[in-house]
Symmetry: C2
Subunit: 340 residues, 2 copies
Amino acid sequence: MPPSDRRPLTLRDVSEASGVSEMTVSRVLRNRGDVSAATREKVLIAAKQLGYVPNKIAGALASQRVNLVAVIIPSLGNLVFPEVMTGISRALEESELQPVVGVTDYQPDKEEKVLYEMLSWRPSGVIIAGLEHSDAARAMLAGAGIPVVEIMDTDGAPIDAAVGISHRRAGREMAQAILSAGYRRIGFMGTKLGLDHRARKRFEGFTAALAKGGVEIEDQEFYTDGSALAKGREMTQAMMARSPDLDFLYYSNDMIGAGGLLWMKEQGFDVPGTIGLAGFNDVKLLSGLPVKLATMDSCREEIGRRAAEIILSRLTNEAAPGDTVELSPRINPGDTLRLT
Amino acid sequence: MPPSDRRPLTLRDVSEASGVSEMTVSRVLRNRGDVSAATREKVLIAAKQLGYVPNKIAGALASQRVNLVAVIIPSLGNLVFPEVMTGISRALEESELQPVVGVTDYQPDKEEKVLYEMLSWRPSGVIIAGLEHSDAARAMLAGAGIPVVEIMDTDGAPIDAAVGISHRRAGREMAQAILSAGYRRIGFMGTKLGLDHRARKRFEGFTAALAKGGVEIEDQEFYTDGSALAKGREMTQAMMARSPDLDFLYYSNDMIGAGGLLWMKEQGFDVPGTIGLAGFNDVKLLSGLPVKLATMDSCREEIGRRAAEIILSRLTNEAAPGDTVELSPRINPGDTLRLT
DNA sequence: ATGAAAGCGCTAACAT
DNA sequence: ATGTTAGCGCTTTCAT
């Protein structure tokens, strides 16, 4: 290994070291065009022993192609988004494309900023969580001239394509399952619904379906931050103190549901006999709990995979834009929802 | 909004629309150099209403600066790395720099590939988990001519700088705490130690300290995949069936420890009276459990923050390279370790 | 199968 | 305060 110069190596260095033109070196390094086995060998050896690392900045500028897919999500601490990422990565693995993540913390202004940053790298496509964006963000996405897939949610009109589930329907179906299991006095706990549009839509679907069954939510409580498991405990305890007659608790996510469930079991409640519980997401993490919480699969990995596949197909074929893929989440009754 | 052309907008478009030279447009958009308020205004208006998004590819090539920090970590599903990311993001927030994540899945060959990919974008710095890398990876890092901070671990020689904790010491200190609390018949459960070097080092420190106290591990079990909580349950149950005399269980992470703890409580074990438990990481997620597992803080967010700060200072001052920052994790006895 | 020339969209450096 | 010129390190295109 030569003493590391300050200047990074260029194609020219490899060209000189191997006695082959820059152009041919470039061809070898990208496996494009015909190159004789002999020169190929020479170049590869020279590149390797110089420790040459191509400059994608220059390559991208020259070729006008950037093999990056911008993935814009609200959070990484959430368990659900890492799984979406897994789906995306798997789908992209075989291709040239690479995902790059940006995080918005559920804040529209941050989403706008992150989107702007990412678009300025001229990615080949965008996968972005949710259907709700600021006007500026929508304009950027619409004007970027690249495939855009909005994920997680299908309740609304996508800019280009969408893959997700209907959260309104998810809430509705859970309400129906609860009603037909005979529960009637229902409490709800969840995150503050302001910025989490999907949680809000579930709640709307839930209350609408209850209303159709002549039932109203008896008690509800919202939280903003803190450990979800702990919040679930606290809120559940408070709610049961306030409204001891409740016979079902619907949580906007599995973590707070699990917190509530643990508290219930400790207190000796008869679950799901006298009171039932349900969450949302079907997070694998919790599969080690003594009792399994009723929940609904949010199809996270499949959403990621399908979204990436749409990007890929848009980039090769001229697959028609405008398609929405709505996946169907299943209720998983676990041990906390009476069966009918 | 004009009909979206296929061709993305360039500085030239803004220049023409505003009647100002490209160079001045560039200055306005970057807030550099002196520009009169009047022209500034003109440019900003033109740019906004065209919907111009700068091309960072071109900018980076021209300026030879890329305001990206490559962050290379083993996994995102782990809870610990998202927290490291939080620390990094916070520290970088005020600066021009932006983190970009690459994931290795704990595989050296994938690490090498990801590193190569990231370096080919010529980032301003690298933050990479662990001190163990393939020769090729080490060579790339050493030769990249940019600040490199290896994080999480300080048991070894860094390429450039390092921020982390000594996992050997962590294991040792936990062993000492366990011994001085009077426990003697100790079982260990953890991930297969092959590729998780930090877990291995904790184990080594742990057994070494036990040996110094004349104690040997009585039983041990390793797992590879699956839900950690569930694995913790299963392994604990199996181990207690096999070795009912154990009076302490040390887990290589909090999640399997929590699984074990839940099982123990269900079975009615007297924890920490007849048997103690401890994990590692101090993950906040678990703070809603009925009983708090003894654990040790792995200083994740601070590690991220300090690493990012080192990159920043290297980029401005010529802060001396070669420094290792060793943080001191504290034992948090929770409710599952007798106090002395 | 290989090479030469032109230029991708910006910014550094130097005018003015 | 603003403009002009010359590249950044590659790849495209066209020769040979």
